[in-house]
Amino acid sequence: MLLQITEPISTLVQEKLSQAVAIGIDLGTTNSVVAYSQNQKPFVLQDAQGVSLLPSVVAYLDGTAPIVGEKAIDLIEEMPDCVVTSSKRLMGRSGSEVAEIAGNFVHIMTDQDSQDKVVRLIIGGQVKTPIEVAADILRELKNQAEVALKQPIEKVVITVPAYFDEAARQATKEAAALAGLQIMRLINEPTAAALAYGLDHGIEGIYAVYDFGGGTFDFSLLRMTKGVFQVLATGGDVALGGDDIDRLILEYLRHMSSGIELPTKSYKQALKITREIKEYLSHQERGMWALPGGNECPLDRQTLEQLAAPLVEKTIDICRQVLISADLKPKDIHGVILVGGGTRMPLIQERVSEFFEQNPLTNLNPDEVVALGAALQAEALTHGSETLLLDVTPLSLGIETMGGLVEKIIPRNTPIPVSVSQEFTTYQDGQTAMKIHILQGERELVEHCRSLGEFNLTGIPPMTANAARIAVTFQVDVDGLLTVSATEKTTNISQEVTLKPSYGLTEEDYVRILRENVVHGQKDIKNRLLIEAKVKAQQLLHQLDKAIKVDGDLLTAIEHNNLLQAMEALEERLTDGDQDAIVKRQKLLESISAPFATRRVERLVGEAVTISSPPEK
């Protein structure tokens, strides 16, 4: 967006507010889809050639912009080292973890500093994090949507696997920011699919969503009642998907064409073949395939199903576990929604039907349904809606206690947003600091859970053991993102931690990426930041102005006065053009107006509830 600094601020604000167009994106392991919804009618935004699915494949060549999609796939055979596929599986992962997940990422940097947690890939001679690869895919989808809708787009709802952990969600958020997209909400893929089904077909009752994607498996149980989509329980595996079936087929082919070892270089070519095999054998009983190196190999559906069966059974196990945790039986389920291209496999449809004792729903295209749901949510968030999505945390969150044990603070399947505080104490006399180690997972031992980060609460006044009262508060917001803060209650020493740095981009990454994507000179970037700060400030002033007019009676005379003063102070800074000063006063105004905001929200909620509920007995 090109804005002139000389333009009157109020027009800027109006322009920002009128850009009420938001899209929904399904950022998939194998394919990505962008959709848009108008009057609750979502549709996929296709590319210029009329293609709906954008392969999540990116090629990096010297001196050109990243190449995304089908064109990148075409380059796989010629220059496999310049192309990256399935990078979603690496989101929020460290180098050492990645080595365990996959064999098809031939580009992983091996000499990584252990401090440096985010995995780095060398693609076409360039160093890339999975976050940047995701950003390049998102940028392509953004362009595709802008061409289709003929207007600039900044706002987006992006879907993530329900079972994505904190680090992977943060990574997705960072990718959107790099692509110049503002995330209105991260929503879970199965929830998005249910939304698309529910609104389309007006279904009610308890539904199961079985989502077998390219790289991840999710299973969610939802209760749908009159526009409320309530997730009851969710489970999954972030390293189980169609990719794994591909790998098994490949191993089989290797085994069958024994003697001729497929070189690493043609690994991805081979993966391309395995995908064709899967598709072909979904409709045909048997076929013959030409392999790189001139070999031919036959494969029939029965053999394919034998190969895939253990993985399919794994997904059924997860379904069973989630049902038990929700105290439900397969017969309690009113319908099973199939999501993800992988569910086209006849074997999966058979097993799902057998387990749930009913035929699954497949009215909507399993490749598109998630993006359609995301688009519906994007519309709901821009224009308001009667629909309500109530999601849950997929994994338990806790902290390390004595003896390497994990104390759960927020159990999995807790509805979000949620805020839980728990008190801990010191175990030594005179202890002045306390390490807080945050973990995610279901197991009891620290070593079996995922470490999300550590911080030190310092400055605890020396007391006898067990005297200090340290309240650790976990907050999970509607995007499923965690904030942890700790306060020593007798002295009110408090610390807040954002868990971003752990597996995300470092300062240096940002500098490097900015340098690589230099579009504006240094001064332009400064100007842009200044304008953004001004727009934000103007928005807040405008919102507060309105709030005071409506609910001014919630303020005491002194509060009213203080608020007006802080507003004036911010307004003054808008004219003399210093970004830091504006941001500072904005923050001050936000904190001064916080009690007013709380009272307004309470009134809004309270009043409407009193009106809508019948008089009490």
Binding site: A380, L388, L389, V478
Partner: protein, 176 residues
């Protein structure tokens, strides 16, 4: 127990009783969450979005508390100012309860065949329903002296039920 000294019944506008109607609870929760959910405040100022998140969070906690009989019982005891045994360093002073629960625990531990597990499961479920009934009655009749012991039983029994659930998951996985 009550974060920021909030009462879950009050938050959801429900009468503070042990017998909570699930449909009424859902309706109260959905009605409030439809208004307080941060999705409804996306165009509001940052402080108001945060206030909405706080409001939605306390609705969620209240809902989770009232949905679960053990947590609901605990909330009612807290409201009545009755001390809860076995928590925060307070010792359990009811040897009879302890003995009864240890017997059940042992039975769970020793149950191996599916029939044994299912028998003990039924036994625990029956006992659980009995205790829930007694707790509700004691509360209604203001038999405050009986409440802590009943609550203790309730806690143990729901813990045993959870343990059995874990075993059920494990068993169903082994069956394959």
């Amino acid at each position: 127990m009550f974060k920021d000294l909030q009462n879950p019944f009050e938050i959801l506008g429900m009468e503070a009783t042990f017998d909570v109607d699930q449909t009424a609870l859902d309706a109260a929760y959905f009605a409030r969450q439809s208004l307080a959910h941060p999705d409804r405040f996306i165009h509001h100022s940052e402080p108001e979005r945060q206030a909405a998140t706080a409001q939605a969070s306390s609705l969620n906690s209240a809902y989770e508390t009232l949905k679960n009989p053990t947590l609901r019982a605990k909330a009612l005891l807290t409201l009545k100012g009755i001390e809860i045994q076995g928590e925060e360093g307070k010792s359990v002073q009811d040897p009879q309860v302890l003995e009864e629960m240890m017997d059940l625990q042992e039975a769970v531990f020793e149950a191996h065949s599916p029939q044994d597990v299912s028998r003990i499961e039924n036994q625990i479920q029956d006992r659980y329903l009995q205790v829930i009934l007694s707790f509700g009655q004691a509360l209604q009749k203001n038999l405050n002296r009986e409440l802590p012991g009943l609550f203790l039983r309730l806690t143990y029994l729901s813990k045993l039920k959870e343990d059995l659930k874990v075993r059920q998951t494990q068993a169903s996985l082994k069956m394959l």
